[in-house]
């Protein structure tokens, strides 16, 4: 079984509720410079006459062939066979950022302890039959948990 968190651009308004829910779920210390594991963006294209606004929410994509997994020299990253999420155990993380360089989406970041930190799909919640925090909160249903 494999889960994905999907994003529907047509529904997102970049209100940031998903980012806040992520902070609440993961006790993110923004005061100390930490960032949430999911973030929202507004992109304005200012080319006349094609001015337009794009609204996005972004986090780890939990790729099927996740390049961060083989990139890690310490074997911290792996797939949870039960959920398919790209999860991690950073006990042996050396903070080399190889995962971040390998990721095309810029998902892995460094936590305040100098070890890798990224979205784990709210793996434990999904295993317990609950939705990821960002999916549960999304006021406009732009995020969804789908089973593949």
């Amino acid at each position: 079984m494999s889960y994905k968190i999907t994003f529907d651009e047509t529904k997102c308004v970049a209100c940031g509720a998903c980012a806040i829910a992520c902070m609440d779920q993961n006790d993110i210390l923004v005061e100390e410079g930490q960032f949430p594991l999911r973030r929202t963006f507004t992109r304005e294209s200012r080319l006349h006459p094609e001015e337009k606004f794009g609204y996005y929410s972004h986090a780890c994509e939990h790729c099927d062939e996740a390049p961060c997994i083989p990139a890690c020299p310490s074997g911290c990253l792996f797939k949870d066979p039960e959920t398919g999420f790209t999860v991690f155990d950073t006990t042996n993380c050396i903070g080399c950022r190889s995962c971040a360089f390998a990721c095309p989406h810029g998902a892995p970041a460094m936590g305040l302890d100098g070890k890798m930190l990224k979205c784990d799909g709210c793996n434990q919640r999904v295993k317990a039959g609950m939705l990821p925090a960002c999916v549960a909160v999304c006021p406009f249903d732009a995020l969804a948990l789908v089973e593949e």
Binding site: T10, A14, C15, A19, D24, R43, S45, Q124, P139
Partner: protein, 729 residues
């Protein structure tokens, strides 16, 4: 990590972790939403929040602000115990006190001032949240006073007045009746009321057409609008009149409806006749083809619902603009029709839930006849006529001038001083008071000017009753341990009712007794809702079918829908109010070459509401600094780049903040969010620029100028990439 540690870290509820889910509600914004919350609690402490699935309205969802409840509740500046001032007003020199001492001091001072002067020399003011308003107003009455006023002196009430003048009742879009065209005028429902945003988005998915009219490009204009009109700031009234003229000129109006139900059609027709398309295009800046197209869509699509929001009333011509917009619903006969606009029957706390309560009786039964004019009564006679409350926008003037009598004391419940235009003048006025006490969750500016400060608690730390559309009654219980030695506002009010010798037995009995009085006949529902934590439908719920309001009798003085307001016509002509919704230029008088821009203070951000979210670190992180939105080309002309420090000045004040270049702002307009301690947008709004009809300040139309701070390092405007730029919300 052990399995137990993993579960605890992930906050999985259950016996393994000892985490329990308790039901409560979010009170951060206005009662229109008050979403149901599942509070994840362990050892009395809140670990996480989530929406409650199945809850009326919110159904498991929360907005950006509501998702941050945990940090809001545990904000670092929560007041932990009663405080008594020991140093100068405006300073932080306070000592802690017991509840007994603090309440005793309040009672002693208020009783003394009442005996020496008059009960109305004491003002009872309340800001957010709104849950205890009936209790506070009754306390004011039971103590012999009438000078009760609220933050609704700048919010919601102007639109409520406009609708009451025109329709005899407040009106809302009848979404249940499936409108086929929704006109959101000055409306960004995604952000200002996300549940309405969900409704708009769901309608769009079903093929409903949407017109958005807004001076700002917003998520609504970009995502929802089939047609987007962008008038110049303060010219919405002209746009509405021009559309009315098109409808009448083309004979698209519902003439039978007008003949049967409407007063003042000919006067209105003569008034709008001056706004031909050329004139309207010149004044509003909206292409005449778009004005015509919008009028045609409104006239031809049935049913259609035209609605607007509070922002439109923050102009000197705000109330009339609101009347002008809502008048379009009359022309096309979509009042009290399925999918048009429907009357609102308040059940409790300005929410219609489809059954009656004794809220009005509860509030007014201890009121005595007035002896003195209330605050604002002379300056804003229409406000007084319709509300019989004080208009807080005249409070600063009356305290400072003592005209027509001195205000000596202030009871400030949840007072956000930055809601007042030219806040520094209000603070000067507060210094003059003989006595002031404040209740709040947080250590605010109002607290600094109070003699006694009482710590209040959040909705999670107490129980609360709410009525929701569909006939639902919710009755929460305290979900988490209280922070410090705080008490609920109603506990404070009940205690004061005793100490102030009001003799008001019901008020003294506390919240539950009062709720049972107000919701008489719903005792089983209250008990069940409280026991189960789940909202229960009242057995008295009775939906109001469309058409019943017109059939029963329109509640205006004339019994007709009034394009010409007989209620305004009855106001002293010296006030200069026009019974027709005439448009006038709302610009403030000043040298327009010196102040070439127009400032709009209060344009909404998704992660802020007034001042109370700015000190919640999670929310603040989404836009860490106060910013002013400016069009990229205006910025280029002034050599301003993204993030540059700038100064925005008006005739009232100057403010330093950062520039945010965005197409959301029209050329010539600047937008700022309000309530920041270090950049209080409302300080820029002169305290003289008020709508004479409502008393509302002109927050959204103030002449200003902007310049890049000279002290900043030279930055190049060309650094801006033409192809757009990625920046965080």
């Amino acid at each position: 990590m052990t399995r137990e540690e993993q579960l605890l870290k992930a906050k999985i509820p259950g016996p393994e972790t000892g985490i329990e889910i308790r039901r409560t509600m979010c009170d951060i914004c206005a009662p229109g939403a008050h979403c149901g919350v599942n509070a994840y609690v362990k050892d009395g402490r809140l670990l996480k929040v989530e929406g409650t699935p199945g809850y009326p309205g919110s159904n498991g969802k929360l907005c950006t602000k509501g998702a941050a409840n945990r940090q809001y509740i545990y904000r670092k500046d929560r007041i932990l115990s009663p405080m008594v001032r020991t140093g100068p007003k405006g300073s932080d020199a306070f000592r802690t006190a017991t509840w007994e001492e603090a309440l005793g001091l309040i009672a002693e001072n208020l009783k003394k001032i009442k005996a020496e002067s008059d009960p109305d020399s004491i003002v009872w003011y309340t800001g957010y949240s709104k849950w205890y308003r009936p209790w506070l107003k009754r306390l004011c009455h039971s103590f012999g006073g009438h000078n009760y006023m609220t933050e609704s002196s700048t919010c919601y009430k102007s639109g409520w007045m406009a609708n009451n003048l025109t329709f005899g009742r407040d009106m809302r879009p009848d979404m249940m009746g499936r409108p086929r065209l929704l006109v959101g005028w000055g409306s960004n429902p995604y952000i200002n009321a996300y549940l309405a945003g969900r409704g708009f988005a769901a309608s769009k998915d079903k093929g409903v057409k949407i017109i958005i009219i807004d001076v700002r490009r917003t998520q609504a204009s970009e995502k929802l609008a089939d047609l987007y009109l962008r008038p110049r700031i303060g010219t919405d009234g002209v746009l509405a009149h021009a559309m009315a003229k098109i409808i009448l000129d083309n004979n698209w109006q519902d003439q039978e409806f007008l003949d049967t139900y409407v007063l003042g059609v000919e006067e209105y027709r003569r008034m709008v006749a001056q706004y031909d398309l050329e004139t309207a295009q010149r004044i509003t800046g909206v292409p005449k083809e778009d004005i015509f197209r919008a009028a045609q869509m409104i006239a031809e699509t049935k049913p259609c619902s035209v609605s607007t929001n509070t922002g439109i009333t923050h102009h000197k011509n705000g109330l009339n603009t609101c009347r002008a917009i809502m008048a379009l619903n009359i022309l096309i006969g979509n009042v009290d029709q399925p999918g048009g606009i429907a009357p609102v029957y308040d059940t409790f706390l300005e929410m219609g839930a489809g059954f009656d309560t004794r809220e009005e009786e509860f509030i007014f039964e201890t009121r005595t006849p007035e002896r003195l004019p209330l605050v604002g009564q002379k300056r804003f006679p229409l406000w007084y006529d319709m509300n019989h409350d004080g208009q807080a926008m005249d409070l600063t003037r009356q305290i400072l001038s003592e005209d027509p009598y001195p205000i000596r004391a202030l009871a400030a419940f949840g007072m956000n001083t930055r809601m007042f235009p030219q806040t520094s003048q209000l603070l000067k006025a507060l210094e003059k008071l003989d006595f002031m006490f404040a209740t709040d969750l947080f250590w605010t500016d109002a607290c600094r000017y109070a003699d006694v400060v009482l710590p209040a608690c959040s909705s999670f730390e107490r129980g609360e009753v709410k009525a929701y559309p569909g006939g639902f009654i919710a009755y929460t219980q305290q979900a988490i341990d209280r922070v410090g030695d705080c008490r609920s506002d109603v506990e404070i009010i009940a205690e004061l009712a005793k100490l102030l010798d009001t003799g008001d037995e019901l008020l003294m009995q506390g919240y539950d007794a009062c709720v049972r009085y107000i919701f008489a006949g719903n005792e089983e529902e209250l008990d069940e809702a409280r026991r189960t934590g789940t909202p229960v439908r009242s057995k008295h719920f009775k939906p109001t079918p469309p058409g019943s309001y017109l059939a029963k009798g329109i509640e205006t003085p004339s019994g007709k829908l009034e394009l010409y307001s007989t209620r305004i016509a009855a106001i002293d002509p010296a006030a200069g109010l026009d019974p027709l919704p005439v448009w006038f230029d709302g610009d403030n008088a000043c040298d327009k070459t010196e102040y070439p821009f127009t400032l709009m203070a209060g344009a909404r951000l998704p992660h802020a509401i007034h001042s109370r979210c700015h000190d919640v670190p999670w929310l603040r992180s989404l836009r860490p600094e106060p910013m002013v939105d400016i069009h990229p080309e205006d910025a280029a002309d002034l050599h301003i780049s993204q993030g540059d420090p700038v100064t925005v000045s008006t005739t009232a004040a100057a403010l330093h903040l950062k520039a945010n270049l965005t197409l959301s702002a029209n050329r010539g307009d600047l937008h700022m969010f309000h309530g920041y301690a270090e950049a209080n947008a409302n300080e820029l709004v002169p305290n003289t620029e008020n709508d004479p009809y409502s008393g509302f300040p002109s927050f959204k139309q103030i002449r200003c100028r902007i310049q890049r701070d000279e002290t900043s390092p030279q930055t190049s405007a060309d650094r801006e990439e033409e192809g757009g730029k990625l920046h965080e919300l």
